[in-house]
């Protein structure tokens, strides 16, 4: 996957998550978590994290990999890595 710029636009993260989980974008929202999202299993979780790393040009630790199990926590991790606009995509 081509690396995207830091400060990726707000909706793209949800699109990236949906694509990694092979779900329609509408199936992923701000409240999505590993617990409530179909197909978000451990393998696709690693795939998702790998794609986030490639998209944002960052590397996640095992601890971050373990906690990046919701859209909210992924946004927090991106903020910790200095990603400028990981805010919600909803109006």
């Amino acid at each position: 996957m081509q690396r995207q710029t830091r400060g990726m636009d707000q909706g793209s993260l949800l699109g990236l998550i949906a694509a990694s989980l092979r779900l329609p974008v509408a199936a992923v929202g701000e409240a999505s978590t590993m617990q409530n999202t179909r197909r978000w299993d451990s393998l696709r979780h690693v795939l998702l994290v790998t794609r986030i790393e490639a998209a944002y040009g960052i590397s996640l630790t095992d601890s971050e990999l373990a906690t990046a199990t919701s859209v909210v926590s992924i946004r927090e991790i991106l903020r910790d890595h200095g990603i400028a606009h990981p805010g919600p995509s909803t109006p």
Binding site: E30, A31, M34, Q35, N36, T37, S42, V46, T69
Partner: protein, 368 residues
């Protein structure tokens, strides 16, 4: 969604054998990641893995990819570990799959080792076939090398071990007896109520959990105790505002629920303890507020975000001349999971799940 059963089963991690406990967690609404949650590994392989801390599990050439009816399977021969990927030919290249699986198993093995060392979970092993004393001793020795790890060994109930019972054999070993094992060809068909009852009892018995929880003197000065769930005693106490009992809890539904305790004599001040879990699903439902009224007088207000033991005082002045305590719970944040959680089917208006309520006389070891 956070449910009491999900919170409970998240405190356990499967060491095998098979996927039955993983399916139990799924049915309870929990989807924790775990190296052995949906994997096949004989006890000998598990012992070898524990003894070596799964050394080399994610190394190059450590994984073997195969196919069965188009689905990719992964095998780690060193530990006789084998599992589905639920990915099929054409969905992903074999090279990318192996790369991801290498990172996954390495990460999950490290997580398992961290949990073993920290004793932060109870580790479950389901006995599906005979195990020799030597194998069992080797398994326990391998676990003991991590320090305080606690094992819940689960077996089918029999004439001398009733279903749902749990025995604490020593500080690091519990044995639970299941009503029935899931059929081998349908491991998802778990005995849910029995599993939940075992997990609840094991968690209550767990020495590490006990020491982490505040000291519990529930039996001192006991006036009354309500245990919720299908196997509890709550039905005779409940008024309006409750859903039908589930395995180990009962949901308070809507914005108000009521129950009543009988009082045998002048009780003085009473301490009310509530063991509860909220329905929360951030950001839409981040908390559940709970107000407690005793005989129509408000005695407490709580904001609940996770399973909790709450307590408050009911002054004797609110009890004078009464032969019972009428408790009213106000929970204005009740919400419907089906409207909040994508794909969720539950259309009840859920607020707080109650596990247990204890009423004690103050001054009889019932301190906060």
């Amino acid at each position: 969604m956070s449910s009491p059963d999900a919170a409970l089963v998240n405190r356990f991690e499967s060491l095998g054998r098979g996927c039955e406990f993983g399916f139990l967690q799924r049915r309870a609404g929990a989807e924790p990641m775990g190296l052995l949650r949906f994997a096949s590994m004989p006890l000998q392989g598990l012992i070898r893995g524990l003894q070596t801390q799964f050394a080399g599990i994610g190394d190059a050439n450590s994984l073997v990819l195969s196919q069965n009816d188009g689905e990719y399977w992964i095998e780690v021969p060193k530990f006789a570990l084998r599992y589905h990927t639920e990915l099929y030919e054409g969905e992903i290249t074999p090279e990318e799959l192996v790369q991801l699986e290498r990172r996954k198993v390495k990460f999950l093995a490290a997580s398992l080792i961290d949990s073993l060392k920290s004793n932060s979970k109870i580790f479950v092993y389901l006995q599906r076939q005979p195990v020799t004393d030597d194998e069992f001793d080797a398994f326990r020795a391998a676990l003991a090398a991590y320090g305080p790890a606690t094992l819940l060994w689960v077996a089918a109930s029999d004439r001398t071990h009733p279903p749902d019972s749990v025995e604490l054999l020593d500080e690091h070993l519990m044995v639970g007896y299941l009503g029935r094992l899931a059929p081998r060809q349908a491991l998802y068909d778990v005995d849910y109520a029995s599993w939940i009852a075992i997990c609840r009892r094991a968690y209550d018995l767990w020495p590490a959990g006990k020491s982490a929880r505040s000291r519990d003197d529930d039996s001192d000065g006991l006036v009354s105790e309500i245990v919720f769930g299908t196997r509890g005693n709550s039905s005779g106490y409940l008024g309006s505002g409750w859903a039908p009992a589930e395995a180990a809890h009962t949901w308070a539904v809507g914005d108000r629920s009521q129950l009543a305790f009988p009082l045998q004599d002048e009780a003085g001040d009473l301490l009310l303890k509530l063991i509860v879990g909220p329905f929360v699903s951030p950001p839409a439902v981040p908390v559940q507020r709970l107000a407690v009224l005793a005989n129509d007088a408000e005695v407490a207000n709580f904001t609940v975000t996770r399973e909790a033991k709450l307590q408050c005082l009911i002054p004797a002045t609110d009890l004078q001349g009464r032969d019972r305590v009428d408790l009213t719970f106000l929970h204005p944040d009740a919400a419907t999971p089906a409207r909040i959680v994508p794909g969720h089917a539950d259309r009840r208006n859920l607020s707080i799940a109650f596990h247990r309520i204890v009423l004690q006389r103050v001054g009889a070891g019932a301190g906060a």
